[in-house]
């Protein structure tokens, strides 16, 4: 699964630390999610979607091998 978290963050012009604070997670979590090392829960994915005001599918995209 790939994600567009970095792009969404760039659109909003916020840092990883700022996003982490808004969502209520650590900066490491944001970093690992962006790098695709950690897949967040549905709850966290929905929180991202709500914050960026886009559907979840626009942030987290399934790949062919998923």
């Amino acid at each position: 699964m790939k994600n567009t978290l970095k792009v969404q963050r760039a659109i909003k012009d916020i840092t990883q630390a700022q996003l982490a604070e808004v969502i209520g997670v650590s900066r490491q979590s944001i970093n690992t999610i962006e790098k695709g090392k950690f897949v967040p829960s549905t709850l966290l994915a929905l929180k991202f979607a709500r914050y960026f005001e886009v559907p979840v599918e626009k942030i987290f995209i399934l790949e062919d091998d998923d």
């Binding site: 209520g24 997670v25 650590s26 490491q28 979590s29 970093n31 690992t32 966290l44």
Partner: protein, 183 residues
């Protein structure tokens, strides 16, 4: 019927039949506030110092043993040789006390570190904890097995086994958090 409640775990015991429905186990649940993490590190460092002080005699005996073998002196025994060179510092009882204090302090420090909260507790940290716990259990048991095979003995001290397991867990956790996934 007895119902036993824990913060995030509900187990219903009914006439010996265990109903674990709706039971949400949270392994490695953090129960101590964040400052305990630093207290744990300090206590663990103190335990290392205590262990070093307590092991002076072991080091001294090891050194004399090597020196005694090198000098090919068969006229006097090892004990006589050590006595002639000033003897050991501690009595057996004092040595045991040092060992005991060292292991208790070490376990307390590690336990505090393991069960203390992070600044921000989230699902990534929870996953990291679970991952490190699984690796620590597997690798420590592999280590014990190898030691038993090499030494040819099935005897091991429970407290030292616990200490090894926790130490592996902490090392793995710190490595993964600070370096592998750290920025």
């Amino acid at each position: 019927m007895c119902i036993f409640y824990l913060p995030k775990c509900k187990i219903k015991f009914t006439f010996g039949r265990v109903n674990v429905a709706k039971c949400k186990f949270v392994l490695m649940k953090t129960i101590l506030p964040y400052p305990f993490r630093k207290v744990g590190i300090v206590i663990f460092l103190i335990s290392i110092i205590v262990s070093f002080i307590g092991d002076i005699d072991h080091a001294k005996a090891g050194f004399y043993e090597g020196y005694h073998h090198l000098s090919y002196s068969s006229e006097e025994s090892m004990v006589q040789y050590i006595e002639r060179n000033g003897g050991l510092i501690y009595t057996v009882q004092e040595q045991k006390t040092f060992d005991w204090v060292g292991i208790i302090l070490s376990l307390s420090g590690l336990l505090m570190y393991v069960f203390a909260k992070e600044r921000v507790e989230d699902e990534f940290i929870e996953k990291l904890r679970m991952n490190c716990l699984a690796w620590a259990v597997a690798s420590s048991w592999l280590l014990f097995f190898l030691i038993m095979v090499i030494r040819g003995s099935t005897r091991f001290e429970v407290l030292y086994a616990l200490q090894t397991q926790m130490l592996i867990y902490v090392v793995l956790y710190v490595y993964q958090k600070k370096w592998k996934y750290g920025v």
